[in-house]
């Protein structure tokens, strides 16, 4: 399974941190995860805040030594200092949102600085940097200091910085967080382009549609463990024994929702502008779904009730919520 077709093979990877309070047990950020990433694919790591996504990609980029377990990246062991040194030439990472750039340097000066660190030959440097500035659509702002950049521009120059060594693997930690829809779409387009160009991309995100649109395969992590994996379709199918029921009522069905939650079902209510209430919940298949629930909601004047195809978000919430840890 560690064949040449794999860019990354992770086996039972663990990372713990010393607790901030002395005496209390170590914090388990990543608690034994395993997965593989094929060369050239876009691979998603999804999970709630604190699930261990960032910790995982830091270990895979040689910025954090694993506590135990094994991770081979491009055939090199990330626990080995020598391998990590040669790995650095072949990978790069965009993490940290707005931070991670020299504010008093212009976009171009930042790229020059980092291209020097990667030992890019002087005669290629200019062409490379101009190309990257074009790619991220910052050619016009190249001479402007980064402190004057908007958030979207900072994120794009970050990506250009991470492409300076033409990495075979690019790690992107929440690349579109806090960006407007148009810029985000541009960045997704860029990710696709890089992937088409042969790069392997590992991406963490909180946005389901982003994962759905981009990722060939993904894992869903929660509390440092993998709780779901596969393609989007496989992940949706993995909760196929669950039906998502949508009920529209005229009155607030708080009592019914409380009853559902008492049964251990994930249920959420949205109040609509037109005064109606939409309740969504996941019910086990086969328990004569609609019939029994129609009665429960009847006191709140049901306008409609039906079964919906699960979305990735439904699957995500079921998998993450169902993790008892």
């Amino acid at each position: 399974m560690n064949g040449p077709e794999h860019a990354i093979v992770v086996e039972d990877l663990v990372r713990t941190f010393k607790s901030f309070m002395s005496g209390s047990p170590e914090k388990v950020a990543v608690g034994g995860i395993s997965f593989e990433v094929k060369k050239g694919e876009i691979f998603g790591i999804l999970g709630p805040n604190g699930a261990g996504k960032t910790t995982t990609i830091k270990m895979l980029s040689g910025l954090l030594t694993p506590t135990s377990g094994k991770a081979m990246v491009l055939g090199m062991d990330v626990s080995d200092e020598k391998s990590v040194r040669s790995l650095r030439r072949r990978i790069n990472i965009v993490a940290g949102g707005e931070r991670g750039l020299y504010y008093r340097l212009s976009g171009r000066q930042n790229l020059e600085f980092f291209s020097d660190l990667y030992g890019i030959p002087k005669k290629e440097q200019k062409t490379l940097i101009n190309g990257l500035l074009e790619l991220v659509d910052l050619a016009d702002a190249a001479e402007v200091k980064v402190e004057n950049y908007s958030r979207g521009m900072k994120q794009r120059i970050h990506i250009a910085r991470a492409l300076i060594n033409s990495p075979e693997i690019l790690y992107l930690d929440e690349p579109t967080i806090g960006l407007d829809p148009e810029i985000s779409r541009g960045i997704r387009g860029l990710v696709r382009k890089l992937s088409d160009g042969g790069a392997t991309v590992i991406l963490t995100t909180h946005y389901m549609f982003e994962a759905e649109e981009l990722c060939d395969h993904m894992i869903i992590v929660s509390h440092g463990k993998v709780v779901g994996r596969g393609t989007v379709i496989e992940i949706k199918d993995s909760i196929a024994d669950v039906s998502c029921i949508k009920v529209v009522t005229e009155a607030d069905p708080a009592v019914a929702v409380a009853a559902l939650r008492a049964e251990g079902l994930e249920a959420g209510v949205d109040a609509l502008l037109n005064g109606r209430f939409v309740t969504k919940f996941a019910a086990r298949k086969g328990d004569d779904a609609l019939g029994s629930y129609e009665g429960l909601f009847a006191p709140f004047r049901v306008k409609s009730i039906g079964i919906e195809e699960p979305t990735l978000e439904d699957a995500y919430l079921t998998l993450v919520g169902g993790d008892a840890e």
Partner: protein
């Protein structure tokens, strides 16, 4: 070491230096004030070796202040900016980048020394004839090199802490005294002088003073050749220690994940 990273560090420090006015305080204002105070203290007697001594002291202080100021903050700045991780993920070692940045600060130290001289000449009309200008210049460059090596050690020792500025401010005045920049170290108690012996720039300052002032005695009671030999040996030692410290600190940061915390 990687010369591209050294050059990158140098250029980056230069750009930041010019775009951030806070450097004016250590680089220009404090040596200026120091020299003024010294010259006023000596009052009418603005001539002869004492004045030259005062001016040299001011120049050396400027170089020290600049080294301490720049090197104690250099990595804290990266940590604050989030760039520490970006440079750690790159293949060059932090050591090479720091060498480049130190070289810039050292070059600015030279500008400091010149500024102090010019101020003394122009504003106080002091007689600053150097006994041996060529030797003086060579010794000044060597002293700057030794200052850079101290700067490197300070910079690497402070990679993991956020308190670099604070600690260097605390260390600032003792270092001035111990290096013989303010007063000849012969006036210090024996026990304290030991610290002067390991401060590489103290030997350089000794040599600089003697090259500038006719008949000036060595504060260590050694020949100039010994000054130079010890300066070179101690500076190389400091650089080697800084190298080992950087490597260890880099490894520790990968183990603890502390590169990102601010």
């Amino acid at each position: 070491m990687n010369h591209r990273a050294v050059v990158a560090g140098f250029k980056q420090q230069k750009i930041q230096f010019f775009s951030d006015p806070q450097w004016i305080i250590p680089s220009l204002v404090s040596p200026f004030l120091f020299t003024m105070v010294m010259l006023f203290l000596y009052g009418d007697d603005v001539d002869g070796p004492i004045v030259l001594q005062a001016v040299l002291g001011g120049g050396v202080l400027g170089m020290w202040a600049n080294t301490l100021f720049a090197s104690s903050f250099t990595i804290s700045y990266d940590r604050m900016n989030g760039t520490l991780e970006s440079i750690m993920v790159a293949p060059s070692s932090i050591y090479s980048i720091l060498i480049g940045r130190s070289l810039w600060s050292t070059a600015i130290g030279l500008v400091n020394a010149v500024v102090v001289f010019v101020i003394a000449e122009v504003m106080f009309d002091a007689d600053l004839t150097l006994a041996n200008p060529v030797l003086f210049f060579v010794m000044l460059i060597l002293t700057l090199f030794s200052l850079a090596s101290v700067g490197m050690l300070i910079a690497t020792a402070f990679i993991r802490t956020r308190m670099g500025r604070v600690l260097s401010t605390i260390a600032e005045y003792p270092i001035y005294v111990l290096s013989g920049a303010l007063v000849p170290i012969t006036v210090l108690p024996e026990g304290l002088r030991v610290f002067s012996y390991v401060l590489a720039p103290a030997w350089g300052i000794d040599a600089v003073k003697r090259a500038a002032i006719d008949g000036c005695e060595s504060m260590f009671g050694v020949s100039m050749a010994v000054d130079v030999a010890l300066l070179l040996a101690l500076s190389s030692l400091l650089l080697a220690v800084a190298y080992v410290v950087t490597r260890r600190v880099e490894r520790r940061m990968l183990e603890t994940g502390s590169a990102t915390r601010y």
